[in-house]
């Protein structure tokens, strides 16, 4: 079946730098994507979402970009802080009943 996937399993950035986490999807009909943050030992937490009628959506220090041409989305975190250390997942609804399919995740590590 079609699913979302991640380009990189790990990402290390310097504190204060911007982080970019990427995600590719395969279904050109996908119309809604969600980014989750999962801290160690905890459940995933919603960060931001985007619908396919948008190219960009901004939240607090986070921006999601959607490129439907190449079926790619990214999560940008500005001025990365130690508290941003976590695994980040992209997800999309699939198959009804609001079920979500998750990518494998990217572990973001912040270097002091």
């Amino acid at each position: 079946g079609e699913s979302v996937g991640l380009h990189l399993p790990t990402l290390s950035v310097q504190e204060g730098d911007n982080s970019i986490i990427n995600c590719a999807y395969s279904n050109s009909a996908s119309d809604y994507f969600i980014w989750y943050k999962q801290e160690s030992g905890k459940g995933p937490q919603f960060i931001i979402d985007i619908r396919s009628n948008m190219d960009k959506r901004q939240g607090q220090r986070v921006t999601v970009l959607l490129n439907k041409t190449v079926k790619h989305l990214s999560l940008q975190i500005a001025a990365t802080q130690p508290g941003d250390s976590a695994v980040y997942f992209c997800a999309e609804p699939q198959g009804g009943a609001q079920k979500l399919v998750f990518g494998q995740g990217t572990r973001l590590t912040i270097n002091p």
Partner: protein
């Protein structure tokens, strides 16, 4: 907003023993409920979902079962645990426009 409770938080069980993990939800009624499993360093795999009391759908063949005896209660069970059942089990609930996750149960089968 929804609050999801899971217990126990951690569990160590021998192979062949039974399992019962419980999830309860507050702040909503008639929610869609989900059980996910997460292996170490991996993504989330949907195991079961429920759209109402007594309605369970299984996503993958496995050694586990699920039940929903009450509107806001979702239980994950096994009669005999396997080593491969080890993992982090997450209960989730669909809210206004997103899935909310519980704190999870870490299960180690020895």
């Amino acid at each position: 907003s929804q609050t999801i409770h899971q217990w126990p938080a951690t569990l160590v069980q021998p192979v062949g023993s039974p399992l019962s993990l419980e999830c309860t939800v507050e702040g909503t009624s008639n929610p869609n409920l989900y059980w996910y499993r997460q292996a170490a360093g991996r993504g989330l795999q949907l195991l079961f979902y429920s759209v109402g009391i007594g309605q369970i759908s299984s996503e993958v063949p496995q050694n586990l079962s699920a039940s929903r005896p009450q509107d806001r209660q979702f239980i994950l069970s096994s009669k005999k645990l396997l080593l491969s059942d080890s993992g982090f089990y997450l209960c989730a609930c669909y809210g206004s426009y997103e899935q909310y996750f519980g704190p999870g149960t870490r299960l180690t089968v020895t």
